[in-house]
């Protein structure tokens, strides 16, 4: 959006960061404890870890780049 105030990209960054941390955290918990959800395929790929990590990195990047008050 044009003009001052919080940009939409910052909201997106916050949301991705929260989701990334939650999913990555669960992925690490899953890996450490070795308990995988029944019926879900390809658990050996540890999807929550790399997808959660990607969301966290993207979210953090957007939060920093589009933080309110940044010139």
């Amino acid at each position: 959006m044009h003009g001052s105030g919080i940009q939409i990209w910052f909201f997106i960054g916050v949301l991705l960061l929260i989701y990334g941390v939650l999913i990555l955290g669960y992925g690490i918990f899953e890996l450490v404890n070795g308990c995988y959800p029944a019926g879900v395929q390809l658990t050996s790929l540890h999807t929550p870890i790399w997808w959660g990590g990607l969301l966290t990195a993207l979210g953090a990047l957007y939060c920093i780049k589009f933080r309110p008050g940044r010139a």
Binding site: M1, G3, F11
Partner: protein, 612 residues
């Protein structure tokens, strides 16, 4: 496009939920609701004037307007419906994303946008008023407002039904939660809030749904593995060809012909929707300058071309990857079969016979050796079934949130467009011409509250009246094709007159409705309307749109020839040959609209050749 959505999802029903969500998934969903309400409250202070509330202050960048433009059309009915269509028809379903969208989006950006933008109209009916006068505006505005309310109700109810099937939530709970959230954020922040949430939804859809094709392709052994398994399972390679088998109606599973795809879908329906439907055009009108307004649909076209990766590909993957608990391939069935067998009715046996289910499974269902609700899943359940297959806790919540976000932004789009058209094109000219700016903002906010309330009623009505959903889908095709004819004639022929515009629109709508009723009353009429007696409903829609468009254009031409046109001086900013477009600021070549549009066309052509 909602109006093009394949079999309506409202009908599908089963007793046992597909997915079981845990605490982490609930937190993911709750965070989304918290975020949209936060955005609504944050934007409330920036939506005080009518320009801010209805047009988002006309200060969106090309990227935001472009993403919102695509996202407004990317509802969950669309995602789930077309994934199901890909399961039935293969890659033919991709036509609705490529030829059914890309040329029209580029045409809007390159050719039509300057007229909408320069005329400073607030809406598409507003353009009709400037070009053809009050009668044409009121006809378009009233029909559009009705469509929006009905579609908002359909979206709301469809979400509730999907949540019931996927998660086991009660219908009332889903309706109350979604209606409250949408009302709150649209009534508070107006169009700006709706646009923000559409961009948010776009990111969520990719974040939640992209894993399914990635993991599916990995498991299927890549594209070559998928192809080989589909040919082995289905006995044909038609599922991978978009054009090769469209030379005859009977040669492809969709029962359509390439002329219908090119003229009906690629021209009339697609151009009608993407260039005249105010729901999507409103997003582009909110751009901060003409260059951004022209660039927005071009940016959107790249994302639109990519959507089949998360919609069509999961449908194709499910043809080889979905399995029963014993490892055999799971066959999905048509909506009607699920309805006939869950709960069991006398039509179940006949309906099962029409499916590809193995005889032994059919017998087990009929003899109640297995529960029908666990054995029978409809085509439209492809996407949730694939999500449950690959997404564990947290990721599943993200996938479900993407679906909820799709429904809510679809509803928000309907309601915000309704509010603008109601206030500017119905209330202001017909009820109160002399209100203050703040009065119209208040009317807009109030119309959102009333619109949502009426939508809930409309949703229940559609759900309880059997067969109405078919008519709701058809409703779009009644108005879109004539509207396109009227707007194109108005924009590109200075001789088109006000009475001709109104009459053309009216006769076009009436002819479209008449063809629909004719085919309903006498199925043999399909041979005339769709040129083939066994054409599918989808093919009939495409041809009906083509005829309605042609009739509108002919009527406008004939009536214009015997009525007095407007002076050329009054057509500045409204008609191509009478308008000197403002000079745009200089930008380097890589920021030129034409450069990106050319690139989009090249990719579009390459994709069609690749999947010929």
């Amino acid at each position: 496009m909602n109006h093009l959505a394949s079999p309506a999802l409202l009908a599908f029903f089963s007793a046992a939920p597909i997915a079981h969500i845990g605490l982490l998934d609930m937190i993911v969903i709750a965070v989304y609701f918290g975020m949209v309400i936060w955005i609504g409250f944050y934007l409330k202070g920036r939506s005080n004037t009518s320009e801010e509330f209805f047009m988002a202050g006309r200060e969106m960048t090309a990227w935001i307007a472009g993403l919102s433009f695509v996202s407004a059309n990317l509802g969950s009915l669309e995602l789930m419906g077309w994934a199901g269509s890909a399961y039935q028809y293969g890659i033919l379903a991709t036509h609705w994303y490529w030829i059914g969208a890309i040329p029209a989006m580029l045409f809007l950006g390159l050719v039509m946008m300057p007229f909408y933008y320069v005329s400073k109209t607030h809406s598409v009916p507003g353009y009709l008023f400037l070009r053809y006068g009050e009668h044409a505006r009121v006809l378009a505005a009233v029909s559009f407002a009705m469509e929006m309310i009905l579609m908002s109700g359909v979206n709301m109810f469809a979400m509730a039904v999907v949540m019931k099937i996927v998660l086991g939530w009660s219908l009332t709970f889903s309706i109350v939660v979604s209606a409250c959230a949408v009302t709150l954020y649209v009534a508070l922040g107006g169009l700006r809030s709706a646009i923000f949430n559409e961009v948010l939804q776009f990111v969520l859809i990719w974040g939640g749904a992209l894993l399914v094709p990635i993991l599916g392709l990995y498991q299927a052994g890549g594209v070559s593995g998928l192809k080989a398994q589909i040919i082995k399972n289905m006995g044909t390679d038609s599922y991978f060809h978009m054009w090769r088998d469209t030379g005859h109606f009977a040669a492809n599973p969709m029962g359509t012909h390439w002329t219908g795809i090119v003229l009906g879908l690629g021209f009339v329906i697609s151009f009608g929707y993407w260039t005249t439907d105010f729901l999507v055009v409103q997003r582009v009108l909110a751009a901060h300058n003409l260059r951004a307004a022209r660039m927005a649909p071009v940016i959107g076209s790249f994302f639109k071309m990519a959507v089949p990766f998360i919609v069509i590909l999961p449908g194709l993957l499910s043809l080889v990857l979905l399995q029963n608990s014993d490892g055999t391939r799971r066959q999905l069935v048509p909506e009607d079969t699920v309805k006939a067998c869950v709960p069991m009715s006398s039509d179940c046996a006949a309906s099962l016979k029409k499916t590809l289910l193995p005889i032994a499974v059919q017998q087990d269902v009929l003899n109640q050796k297995v529960t029908p609700q666990s054995e029978l899943h409809s085509y439209n359940e492809v996407l949730p079934l694939m999500m449950v297959r690959y997404l564990g806790p947290g990721l599943l919540g993200l996938g479900i949130t993407a679906l909820i976000a799709g429904f809510m932004s679809g509803m928000a789009g309907n309601i915000s467009a309704f509010s603008t058209v109601w206030t500017y094109d119905i209330y202001k000219p017909l009820i109160n011409k002399k209100g203050s700016d703040s009065h119209y903002v208040m009317v807009g906010r109030l119309s959102i509250l009333i619109g949502v309330a009426v939508s809930i009623g409309a949703g229940y009505l559609v759900q309880n009246a059997h067969g109405i959903m078919d008519y709701v889908q058809a409703l779009f095709s009644f108005f879109i094709a004539p509207l396109l004819g009227a707007i194109l004639m108005g924009m590109f022929w200075k001789r088109a007159t006000a009475p001709a515009g109104f009459l053309g629109l009216l006769v076009g709508i009436c002819s479209s409705v008449s063809m629909f009723v004719w085919v309903k009353l006498s199925p043999a009429a399909l041979g005339v309307v769709a040129l083939y007696p066994d054409a599918t409903d989808m093919a009939a829609n495409l041809y009906r749109a083509w005829w309605a468009f042609s009739i509108t254009v002919i009527v406008i031409f004939l009536v214009s020839m015997v009525t007095k046109p407007k002076p050329v001086t009054e057509l500045d900013g409204l008609c191509y040959s009478c308008t000197v477009l403002p000079k745009e600021e200089w930008v380097p070549w890589y920021k030129q609209v034409w450069v990106w549009a050319t690139l989009a066309i090249c990719i579009f052509a390459a994709l069609n050749i690749l999947f010929w």
